[in-house]
């Protein structure tokens, strides 16, 4: 985590992170369940065709439309999972939150403005599969920025912190720091003894 090579002149993309795969499991399970129900529905529809043709047709159509809906919903959520990413650069954290035609958010957070990062992993599943949420506090923003279902939230929080520290060190190099303190010293001394004959600072 400490060997991040940061070029202060230009912003570099360091990592891209997707949400944890667990967010897809619910959709996949629901899809299997709907498929099971629909196959059962198709079988009933076939069986009741001779006795009650109208009910049979309606049941067939309902099952078919349900399958279509679930199919598109599953792939929409999967594409949304692929498109919703975190990008951490040397100066910013960018969050793309997207589901085609449903959600389109882009969130830019300046790394130097981040005051506090909290990682939260609640429950057995989150601790077992190592995912959770990361909460970012920014003084300028009244509300907390919460990123849900992130894999390895502690590593991410450490990474952002490391980037933040490296950047703040690069803002002022050792020479710049020395110059800054020398100028400060000279200014203070000059104020204090500029009119004295033994003053170390030349007027």
């Amino acid at each position: 985590m400490t060997d991040i090579n940061i070029d202060s002149n230009s912003e570099q993309v360091l990592i891209r992170i997707k949400r944890h795969w667990i967010v897809l499991v619910r959709g996949i399970l629901l899809t299997f369940f709907i498929w099971f129900i629909c196959i059962f529905g198709f079988a009933i529809s076939s069986g009741t065709r001779a006795g009650a043709p109208l009910i049979s047709v309606i049941l067939f159509m309902v099952c078919f439309v349900l399958l279509m809906f679930v199919h598109h919903w599953l792939f929409l959520s999967f594409l949304g999972w692929e498109l919703s990413i975190w990008v951490i650069t040397t100066t910013r954290v960018i969050n793309f939150k997207n589901i085609p035609y449903i959600e389109n958010d882009v969130n830019f957070i300046d790394i130097k403005e981040i005051e506090q990062i909290v990682q939260v992993k609640h429950g057995f599943l989150q601790n077992f599969l190592n995912y959770g949420k990361v909460i970012i506090n920014i003084p300028a923003n009244q509300q907390q920025i919460v990123f849900e279902n992130l894999p390895q939230p502690s590593k991410l929080a450490n990474f952002v912190e490391a980037v933040q520290k490296n950047r703040s060190f690069q803002v002022m190099t050792i020479e710049e720091l020395e110059n800054f303190f020398r100028r400060k010293y000279e200014y203070i001394i000059s104020k204090w003894c500029i009119d004295e004959p033994e003053c170390p600072i030349e007027a």
Partner: protein, 78 residues
């Protein structure tokens, strides 16, 4: 009845294909806008293989669903 059922199923499959085309185009557009935003930063971010695979899987699953719908219809009409 069977002919009407076949026509309705075909129309629904057509609508399904249309939905796929619309979502696919939107996915491409969103990816390009993300790439634009990131390229403003500097890195050449290309469309990920996983996203391409997801779109291809979406298309394959749609074809499969269409075929299955006709198989179900065939058994229903028997």
């Amino acid at each position: 009845m069977d002919t009407w059922m076949f026509i309705i199923i075909t129309i629904l499959n057509g609508i399904s294909l249309l939905i796929y085309i619309i979502i696919n185009r939107e996915t491409k557009r969103v990816t390009e806008s993300h790439i634009d935003l990131i390229q403003k930063v500097n890195a050449a971010l290309v469309e990920t293989t996983a996203l391409k695979a997801a779109r291809f899987a979406y298309f394959l699953a749609l074809i499969l669903l269409t075929l299955i719908s006709y198989v179900f219809f065939y058994f229903w009409a028997l």
